[in-house]
């Protein structure tokens, strides 16, 4: 043994260090010493150089960074003498990894050693390349290495290294081996007598066939031959038997290579192979010697895999199952582990479910093994073998195990239990039990998917509702429950709590108190769910419960100014709604059934089945993108608010349309729209007529539509009660929308009159001129034009003459002043007579909010301080908008510019976002800067997130709503919220209900984008 005193001394010093700190000091000292030596001594003796690089390797091994001296190590490779060269090669291959630049410098030296004549140098070089060679090596060295491998003059010593070196190069660059030429060579190599070379060559073959088995089909019989040779112990030198077994490693490799060929077609080859396999299956006994046992079982398990892969005759398969059955019940942990693992593999390829089921209790025992490795295998196997017949037993075992399982397994366990419960539930109440238990025992590991799914089941199955409600109620009695349990029980009790009303402790007010106790313990996302539940409880409290009302209202009041928009909005809306009596009942009616769809969990399960060995972490990563899948796409049905996770504009819309008729809410609620006095007048007149539906006869049915649609603003322009009978030319709504974006055009036209409009805007003032042109050859008489002004506008229309002569045009100026921000619209009540025909129309005047905007483009320096200064609600509001009509980004930018909200290009680093600014003018606010940011999702143009800010809460809100309308609605059309099932046709055009778009939670998606 060659001693190296300095190295030994250093190692002893390190060993004698009392603590980590002392060790570090010693290491630092040594590194300093080495560094100086490398720097100062121009000619280091080979001995010293060797000693230093060994020390460096030792220090590196201890885990310290060695960031110098690599060059010295690499330079030793080119030393002429063996001892230095050897050290250079070994230390370099330990210190550097394949991507290190210094390695490139060494390629030439390494190549010279490979093609040189010195056998020992060849070995060193091949070892280095085999261990750390990268692509560069693959490109420049592969042919040389191939030559060595097939050379007849090289000794086995070199050739076996060449084989593995080539394997490395092939892994780094598959082109390193040219398939055409190499397949024959490979076949010849497998005839090799030297078992060292043969072992290495077989490893190479495994890599080659795993990549392309067809090209190497001629190697298949050779592999079988190798197995025969080993099985019969022919021509196997004593030194290649390991505990009496002819090279178990070579046997395993040969069988592994065979598993990459789909089948074995040649009957005689197949026969020979099966003889060998049969011998292995039958002839492997358990012996006392551990190593012999391991080696023979290594071969046996590989044989099992091969048999399963070849889908052998039934008899042999049942032998395998019998063997595995034996293995999973032995005490020896390695064999049991492998038995479980291979049984799981077997399940996936063949139909042996029934046989494996016989071992169920044995497998469950392994689920309680002290060894986590074994428990993991047992869990996987139980999961794989579960079906309707044994689901109850298996899932209950999993649940039981959940309480004691270590954290690293809980996630996987609960996911698997949930999937099995859903997939194989014999009855739904059991399913509900399982999920609630899961949440109870391992709430942290129960993803939203799981509880969304249970809600969906309960909603869709009436029979299940009382049961689920009473179960949820039971869990609430527990002292500490997981937040997910609060969510799911709150949801279920909100919907179905009233079904329990007769049971003790389940009155609305009792449910409220027990739920409300939990509120202080939950996080922000749970509070909106609780608020919804309170609202529902309040609604269900029959007869009215003034006590409960008071309590609930107090809660709503409390959250009215909550910083969280979702909570605030719900609080405000529910508060308002709860005072609306019948409307309240309507809005909070029971949730409609969910459309049937495949469970996202099961979908995941299907992915999982492809890759049985996947860790829970990976599983979870796969789930992430679709977490919100289960409940987040409520169908927009008949005016009832969607359930949880609703896009927040929906309840808003309902609240708005209901609050308007009374016109009382604005004082209570800074965010609510200002009262619209006109609603009272216009409400009964209902819907803006579709083109052609002007006559009274026709407008009747369309007038039954109930609430006017808020999206179009509250002003409705129907034709009055007059007995008019003319056909309107063009679409009134379309004309109005067009005029909202431009300043002159036709407002109204019929066979007899055309009303044009021209407008000029300055600050909060506007001057419009109405052009009333008589198209007919008779005079229009009793002409009346009356402005119905909304509260926020001051309007003065110059008198219109009573008669308009034939073919004449009269002008009538209209002065507008904007008092405060509002989206309400002024209406022109217009009528005339032509002979006996009376025609009347109520026309919206395009004096809308954007007319009081002045384009304004900001720079980065101007924009961001302002943006940051607006801290949050109510000055800055954010909302996820769905059902946006899909627009390319430039189109959307044009749209914004068209209503004078100026896009500021380049301000937002994300190219999918738009940032815009404008100035708003009104009498009360004066000139006020407004900022907006739109975050779009390139994957789904029907949704976006919008943030609007200004110095005035009402302005922010109104502007946000205005922008939303522009994005959602096509510039046409009334959207009627028709009760019952009648499909609102124009709405369907404007807002295509694309389930795909709604399926994912845009909030989550956008969050991902940002």
């Amino acid at each position: 043994m060659t001693g190296m005193r300095g190295l030994s001394v250093f190692i002893s010093d390190i060993r004698n260090c009392q603590n980590k700190e002392a060790e570090r000091l010693r290491v630092d000292k040594e590194l300093g010493n080495i560094r100086t030596c490398f720097k100062n001594e121009k000619v280091l003796t080979p001995y010293k150089k060797k000693k230093y690089v060994w020390k460096m390797l030792y220090i590196h091994m201890l885990g310290y960074d060695v960031d110098f001296g690599h060059m010295e190590a690499v330079s030793l490779i080119s030393a002429p003498k063996y001892p230095e060269k050897q050290v250079g090669y070994i230390v370099t291959s330990c210190l550097l990894n394949e991507n290190h630049d210094f390695l490139k410098l060494a390629i030439n030296t390494v190549r010279n050693d490979i093609i040189g004549r010195n056998e020992t140098f060849q070995c060193l070089a091949l070892t280095l390349v085999g261990n750390i060679g990268g692509r560069d090596f693959a490109e420049s060295l592969a042919p040389d290495v191939q030559k060595l491998l097939i050379s007849s003059s090289c000794r086995p010593l070199v050739r076996k290294k060449a084989a593995l070196c080539l394997l490395r190069l092939f892994r780094k660059n598959p082109d390193a081996i040219n398939v055409d030429g190499w397949a024959d060579r490979m076949t010849q190599l497998l005839d090799e007598r030297d078992l060292g070379v043969l072992t290495s060559s077989t490893s190479l073959l495994v890599a080659l066939v795993s990549n392309n088995h067809e090209a190497y089909s001629s190697c298949l019989p050779k592999c079988v031959k190798i197995l025969e040779r080993l099985a019969r112990n022919q021509d196997v030198p004593q030194e290649y038997t390991y505990y009496g077994i002819p090279s178990p490693w070579l046997q395993v490799k040969a069988m592994r290579a065979l598993q990459y060929f789909p089948t074995i077609e040649d009957p005689s080859t197949r026969k020979s192979l099966f003889e060998v396999l049969q011998r292995i299956l039958m002839g492997t006994d358990v012996v006392k010697n551990v190593n012999k046992n391991n080696a023979s079982h290594a071969v046996l398990f590989e044989a099992l895999s091969l048999v399963i892969h070849l889908d052998a005759e039934k008899e042999m398969m049942s032998q395998c199952v019998a063997l595995l059955g034996k293995f999973i019940s032995v005490r020896e942990p390695n064999i049991r582990y492998l038995g479980l693992e291979n049984m799981t593999r077997m399940l996936m390829v063949t139909d042996v479910q029934d046989v494996i089921k016989k071992h169920q209790s044995q497998i469950i025992t392994s689920l309680k093994d002290p060894d986590i490795s074994i428990r993991r295998r047992a869990l996987d196997l139980l999961y794989g073998m579960c079906d309707v017949s044994n689901a109850k037993d298996i899932v209950e075992e999993l649940l039981q195990y959940l309480s004691t399982a270590e954290f690293s397994m809980r996630e996987e366990l609960s996911l698997k239990a949930a999937i099995l419960a859903e997939k194989f539930a014999p009855d739904l109440s059991w399913y509900v039990d399982v999920i609630l238990q899961l949440i109870d025992k391992a709430g942290d590991f129960v993803s939203d998917d799981i509880w969304f799914r249970v809600v969906q089941f309960v909603t869709n199955n009436e029979d299940l509702q009382p049961y689920a409600a009473s179960k949820a109620r039971e869990y609430l009695d527990k002292i500490a429950i997981h937040e997910t349990m609060v969510k799911v029980s709150a949801y279920i009790l909100g919907e179905y709590g009233h079904l329990l009303a007769r049971q003790p402790g389940c009155s609305a007010s009792e449910l409220f108190s027990i739920l409300h106790e939990k509120l202080p313990t939950v996080s922000t996302p749970t509070i909106p769910i609780l608020l919804s539940t309170y609202a529902k409880l309040l609604m269900h409290a029959q007869p009215r419960d003034p006590e409960l009302e008071k309590k609930v209202w107090a809660v709503f009041k409390k959250y009215e100014s909550c910083i969280d928009v979702e909570i605030q909005q719900r609080a405000v809306e529910y508060f308002e709604l709860s005072k609306k009596g019948a409307a309240f009942m309507d809005v909070l009616a029971e949730m409609p059934k969910f459309p049937e769809r495949q469970s996202s969990l099961i979908k995941k399960a299907e992915i999982v089945e492809d890759t049985a060995d996947q860790s829970a972490i990976k599983l979870r990563a796969q789930q992430q993108p679709s977490n919100a899948l289960v409940v987040a796409n409520p169908q927009p049905v008949s005016g009832a608010p969607p359930p949880l996770k609703i896009p927040s504009q929906e309840p808003q819309s309902v609240a708005r349309s209901i609050s308007q008729p009374n016109g009382t809410s604005s004082n209570l609620d800074p965010q609510a729209p200002s009262p619209d006095l006109l609603s009272d007048l216009l409400g009964p007149l209902a819907i803006e007529a579709a083109p052609g539906a002007v006559s009274t006869d026709q407008h009747g049915p369309s007038g039954t539509g109930g609430h006017a649609d808020e999206v179009d603003g509250s002003a409705i322009v129907p034709v009055g009660e007059q007995t008019n009978n003319v056909e309107v030319i063009g679409n009134i709504a379309e004309r109005f929308h067009a005029l909202c974006l431009k300043d002159s055009g036709v407002l109204y036209e019929d066979p007899y009159i055309q009303i044009g409009i021209k407008a000029e805007w300055r600050g909060h003032h506007g001057r419009l001129v109405l052009f009333l042109g008589n198209k007919s050859t008779s005079p229009l008489t009793s002409v009346q034009a009356l402005i119905l002004p909304p509260a926020h506008l001051k309007l003065e229309l110059s008198p219109v003459p009573d008669t308009i002569p034939p073919r004449a045009q009269v002008q009538s100026p209209l002065e507008v002043m904007n008092i405060r921000p509002s989206r309400d619209v002024a209406v022109l009540d217009f009528s005339y007579k032509l002979g006996t025909i009376v025609v009347g129309a109520k026309l919206r005047i395009p004096a809308v909010i954007n007319k009081f905007l002045q384009p304004l483009q900001l720079t980065t320096e101007e924009f961001f301080p302002q943006w940051r200064a607006l801290s949050g609600p109510p000055l800055k509001l954010q909302e996820v908008v769905r059902g946006v009509r899909p627009l390319a980004l430039p189109e959307m930018a044009n749209l914004f510019n068209s209503f004078r909200v100026t896009i500021c290009p380049g301000l937002d680093p994300n190219p999918n976002n738009l940032v815009a600014s404008t100035t708003f003018y009104s009498d009360t606010t004066g000139a006020m800067l407004c900022l907006a940011r739109i975050e779009t999702d390139p994957a789904d143009r029907t949704q976006l997130r919008m943030t609007v800010g200004s110095g005035d809460p009402t302005l922010t809100f109104e502007l946000k709503e205005f922008i939303k309308e522009q994005l959602i609605v096509m510039p046409m059309g009334s959207r009627a919220l028709v009760p019952a099932a009648a499909a609102p046709a124009p709405a369907a055009v404007a807002q295509p209900p694309s389930p795909a778009a709604l399926a994912d939670d845009p909030g989550a998606m956008l969050a991902g984008l940002l």
Binding site: I11, Y82, Q86, N97, R168, N334, D371, S373
Partner: protein, 161 residues
Amino acid sequence: MIHFVLLVSRQGKVRLTKWYSPYTQKERSKVIRELSGVILNRGPKLCNFVEWRGYKVVYKRYASLYFCMCIDAEDNELEVLEIIHHYVEILDRYFGSVCELDLIFNFHKAYYILDELLIAGELQESSKKTVARIISAQDQMVEAAKEEAGSISNIIAQATK
């Protein structure tokens, strides 16, 4: 394929590391820390396999030393377990009843021997005899070079007397 070999003492001291897949120094330290945590804490009568980050680690304890090899999930675990034993037997034969101290002070020898056993994370030689022959040939070459150097310096020393 074996991704890395790790020898670590019961106290968590690293005695040898060999990496066949590219890991940065940072990753190497992390892997060692994580795995020694897992493996050193395992009880004595458990199986020799640990599932870790989608890989499997096959390990075996010999006296105070744990020998660990990280392999792909679908590799043959027992085969690798016996590669470990094979390595230990070769070390044992070389050092003559090997103990941890031998490996501490002759860690470079442990590397030489490992290089004759594994390349590219695959078994290269399954004959103990062959490996022993190669290693002793290497030792002789080193000795020969030393003697040669010695004799040259003797000559120089005598000539300059």
